[in-house]
Structure formats: C-alpha cells, structure tokens
Amino acid sequence: MAAPNVIEVKKLSRIFRNGDIEVHALKDVDLVIGPGEFVAIMGASGSGKSTLLSILGCLDKPTTGEYFLDGVHVTGLDKNELADVRNQKIGFIFQSYNLLPRTTALENVGLPLVYNRSSLFGNPREIATKALQQVGLGDRLHHKPNQMSGGQQQRVAIARALVNDPAIILADEATGNLDSKASIEIAELFVRLNDAGKTIIMITHEPDIAQYAKRIVTFRDGIIAADQTVAQRTPVHLPTSNKTI
C-alpha cells in the first residue's frame, strides 16, 4: 500500500468576518501533497496563501472543509490534540522568525521538545544541538536572537521546525526579510532537507526562490489558479563542510 498523502484538503473555505464585511480568503480549495514533495505557493498579495498555510499548520481553523494531515483527520480534533499535532507533526517557519527574545539559539530550538509529550526522544540538548548543526549554526549555540543576522535567525527557526522530526515543514515567506544571498542559502537548505526526505511547502513572492521547488501552486482570490511541476529546477551548490545535509 502506498504511503498516505501528507496533506489532503477538501473544499476548504475560510471566511473572515469583520462586522458586516465578509472576506472569503479561501474558496473551496482542494489540494493534495504527497510525501517527499517540495511545493512553492505563489500568488498576489491577499490571494489567501498565508490563510491556507495557517490552516495547514493548525494555527487557524477553516470555516468549512476537511483537512487530513499525515492520515489524521485534523478538522475533527480538539484544542489539546491540535496542540500535539502542531508539536509533533508540523514545523512552521515564519517570515519574522518568531524566536523568543533574550533566549539562546539552543533554548529556542529546544522549545518544541519542552512541549513534546512523547518520551521517545533522547537528550533534548543533544537533539537541539544536532538540529542547529544541521542548519550550519553549530558555532552559534549560545547566541541570542539580537546577536545574530536575519539569515542566522531564520536558520535557528528552521532548526526549531526540524527538532521534533515533523511530517511537514511549512514556511510562510521564510526569505521575505532576507537579502538575496541569505535567501538563496535558506532555499538551498530547504532543497537539502527535501532531498533528505522532508516534505516542504513554502510561500514565496520571488520566482527565483520558487524555482528551487519541485512544484508551484499559484493562488488567485482564494482559489488555486495554477498547479505546475517545475521543469527546470535551480541546481544547488555542494554542501560546505559545516552545512551538513
């Protein structure tokens, strides 16, 4: 039997109500993403990309529709179960990093381990250190966010997303705050993670960055306007010695 789809979304809608005004941010969206895929989501501002990703990341709930994540019927879960799903199945990466201030890289990366209720993992410190080494920050373990560049902070956030070995990585404009060099580094990191087997969905406005993905889904006004395979993927430089993976 084939592995289950990582993401399966049926007739997903999200309506924001502000007084009398209703915004239909998502309109009956159907989407299937299999294991090992690397999807870029594109589309104009306000087309519903972040809304979809927040729902996929269990940070928000759809108004109607069904959502299955790694075989779990997410739309039927209670609050605590959703928290556990966020913790164990999802690695979310934000445009603004969302690291805790005054907290070292190691502690930030260790945070998802704190809230992990399974006792299957080993020494949290070791796991967090390994995750930081994976993103090339083995020498920045005890730096605080304000002591790191934007690119480094985003890599801490990626390490944090990886630390509980989630079923999927979700990134909402992960390179939006970075210059092109740092953006490319992050994109190449995603490619290497994907090559190692991680399923990744990333929102981006930059066509260059989207070309690192295997598939591009384009949104317009809350619906999927296009869904293409990337013919000519941007090749990735060989990993340097301290950027293992």
Partner: protein
C-alpha cells in the same frame, strides 16, 4: 490519535513547564523586579499600618489594665447635643457619695472626682493644667503611687486643707531642678502647699497623665470649682470577681439616692474597667480600619504599578504565548507556566514585603519607642492581597491570550 507519539502529561513534563516558568522570571529581570517591587511595597505598607493600629490598641488595653481591674466608674448621664456633650439628668452629688460610702457592701473604696482646667503658678514658671479634686482613697483605687512626700489624709479632706500633689510634668516646668515638697504653688489665685510628687505615668490616649494636680475634693469644690456637684466618682470593688456585683449595687443605691421611680431610666452611668476596655477597643478598632484603608491605598498603588507593567508587557507576552502555542504548547501548559510565574513573584515579593514591614516596625520602635508587635492578621491580609494582585494581573491576561487561535496571538498588536 494513534499516529502521535505521545499525548500524556507526565510529572517529568510538568517539571519542564516549571523550569520554563522560572527561566522566564530570570530572563525578564526588569519586569520581574518591578512586579515584585509593587508587591513588596504593598505588603510592607499593610503590615506596618495594621500593626500600628493593633499596637495602639494593645497599648491602651495595657494602660486600662493598669488602672486596676476592680475599678467602677460613675458619672452623670451625658449626651451629645448639637455637637457638644452635655449632662442630662441629675448631677453626682455629695449625697450620692455618702450613700455609696455608707451602704455599699461590694465596694470598699470610693472617691468623688472633680476635674477642671486651671492655671498653675510658681515663682519659676506657670502653665495651664488640670486639677482633680478627689478623696484620700483615690490613690488606692487608681493604684497611684506617691514617689516623694505623701498623699493627703481623710483629716486633710475633712478640713479642706489647701494641700496638693503634682505630676512630673508640672514639677519639671514649675520647679526645675528643685525639690517641690513643701513649696507653695498657686492654682488660679489660691495658694496650695505641695505635699507629694506623683509617680510618672506617661501618655494615656494621647493625654499627658503627668500634667496634673491632685487635691482634696473639698478644697477644690470650695475654693476653685464654685459648684458643689462632682463630675464623676471612682470606686473599687472588694474583689475582682465582685466587680459586676459592685456595679449592680451602685446602680441600685444611686437610683435610691436620685429617687428614681421603677419605670424611670437611670440618669447616670456606671461602667466597669472591662466595659471601658470594650469601648476603647471599638475606638481603636475604627483606628485600625482607618489605617487599613490607608494601607489598601498603598496596595492599590502597588497593584496599579504591577498592572501597568503587565499591560506594557502584554503585547510581548501575547506574542510569546503565540510562539509557544505554535510550537505545540497546550492552553493548560501556558496557564501552568504563567500561574507559576505569578505565584513565584508574588511569594517572593510577599516574603520580602513581610521582612520589610517587620523591619519598619522595629525601626519605629527603635526611633520613637512605640512598640508595634507585627500582627498576624496584617501578614495574612498583606500576603493575600499581593497574591491576588500578582495572580490577577499576571495570570488572567495570559489566560486570555492562551485561548486565542495561535495565529491571532502571533499577530497581536
């Protein structure tokens, strides 16, 4: 949920949350310090003010006990009329005095008291003071010691001799560095011979008890007062467990003396030392409440300080909560963390506040001599209030944030 690796909350898991909470306190030193400071000030203020009230009450009780447990006080009925207290009904007279002296069996001593404001003059100075006309038994009733010279006798009273005893304050001002015994002093225009010096008594309910002259009531009535009636009488029961008998007997005898019909109410008041203590207890109770009100204001100010800090940090903390939720914290995990933070800060602030309050009481004692025993009530109230404020302002905003959709907590502005 079979595809999740674990969903049970273990003890080890709770330990991790406790660790996170304590870490957050240390990481946000300034916020923690300011929060604690508000609590410290509030608790210390409550402890000091409530203790001061209770200290005053204990002091007064001690002094009333010093008056002698057997004492019975008798005075004409007084009522407030248009802002001033006036006598209603018959005055206390010599007839009443003799009635008690001759007929009472539960009373062994009785003395009239005629008090009035006078000017006391010696060759070395003069001052406004009070003279009390009493009988020779007054010294025993009031347990009043004569430290040099002697008290007057029944013969002195009967002869209305112009002799007197003075308190330490009078001696100091009118006979500086002199032995006053045998000296002459003029009270208003009447010359008196000083035959004794009264032991120092200090303050009683804010009044200097050493600023007074004691003389035979006969002399005071004849020479100074211009009225044969008394302000009041003091008596003492034969024994401590017959004070109530003495009171009932006094009432019966005075009713007879005043010729009151059975259905007429008493036109005088008889009070035992115990009842006096109860009344002053009520007064100092009001004082304590007043002080507690002041203390509550300082608590409130401390509380508003805490609230301010919490509100300022609510944006940052809501974001923090959003991040924690996004990383998989349950609502209960956030609540546990914030509750521990609030309780730890309140407890720390409370403990330091108690220490500071006790120290404050001690310093007051050191510098003013007014001993304030730290009351347990004040500690309980102070601690309870501070815990409520700390938990209220620390916990409830967090609970609100923890109930948000994670995405809304993350986007909070």
């Amino acid at each position: 949920m079979n595809t999740l690796k674990g969903t049970k909350t273990s003890l080890a898991f709770v330990a991790k949350i406790v660790h996170i909470a304590l870490e957050a306190i240390v990481k946000n030193r300034n916020r923690s310090f300011l929060t604690t400071l508000g609590i410290i000030i509030g608790v210390a203020a409550v402890i000091m003010t409530i203790s001061a009230g209770e200290g005053a009450r204990l002091e007064i009780e001690k002094q009333i006990e010093g008056l002698g447990v057997n004492m019975v006080m008798i005075r004409a009925k007084q009522e407030p009329r248009g802002g001033i207290v006036v006598r209603v009904g018959k005055p206390i007279t010599v007839k009443d005095y003799e009635m008690l002296q001759q007929n009472a069996v539960w009373i062994n001593r009785v003395s009239p008291v005629v008090g009035l404001g006078v000017r006391v003059i010696s060759p070395w100075g003069n001052k406004n003071s009070f003279v009390y006309g009493v009988s020779d038994q007054h010294f025993d009733i009031m347990a009043l010691q004569v430290i040099s010279g002697e008290g007057f006798t029944l013969a002195d009273v009967k002869a209305a001799k112009k002799v007197c005893l003075i308190g330490e304050t009078i001696r100091e001002e009118l006979f500086p560095n002199l032995d006053p015994i045998g000296q002459e002093v003029r009270i208003n225009t009447v010359p008196f011979t000083i035959i004794g010096l009264l032991e120092e008594q200090g303050q009683f309910m804010g009044q200097d008890q050493d600023d007074m002259v004691v003389a035979p009531y006969t002399t005071v009535v004849n020479r100074l007062y211009g009225d044969v009636n008394f302000n009041s009488m003091l008596a003492s029961a034969i024994a401590e467990d017959h004070v109530e008998d003495a009171k009932q007997e006094t009432i019966a005898l005075l009713r007879e003396s005043h010729k009151l019909l059975p259905d007429e109410p008493d036109d005088f008041e008889v009070m035992t030392q115990l009842e006096l203590m109860e009344i002053t207890g009520q007064i100092t109770g009001i004082l304590t409440i007043l002080l507690a009100a002041i203390a509550s204001i300082s608590l409130l100010v401390g509380g508003i300080g805490i609230m301010n800090i919490m509100l300022v940090s609510v944006t940052e903390r809501t974001r923090e909560i959003g991040i924690r939720l996004a990383l998989g914290a349950r609502e209960s995990d956030i609540l546990t963390q914030f509750l521990i933070e609030a309780v730890a800060l309140s407890a720390a602030g409370g403990v330091v506040g108690i220490g500071l309050g006790v120290l404050g009481n001690f310093l007051i004692y050191k510098f003013t001599g007014f001993f304030i025993p730290t009351s347990y009530t004040s500690i309980v109230i102070g601690f309870g209030f501070s815990a409520m404020i700390g938990v209220g302002f620390g916990y409830f905003p967090a609970r609100k944030a923890a109930r948000l959709n994670p995405i809304d907590a993350l986007h909070y502005e």
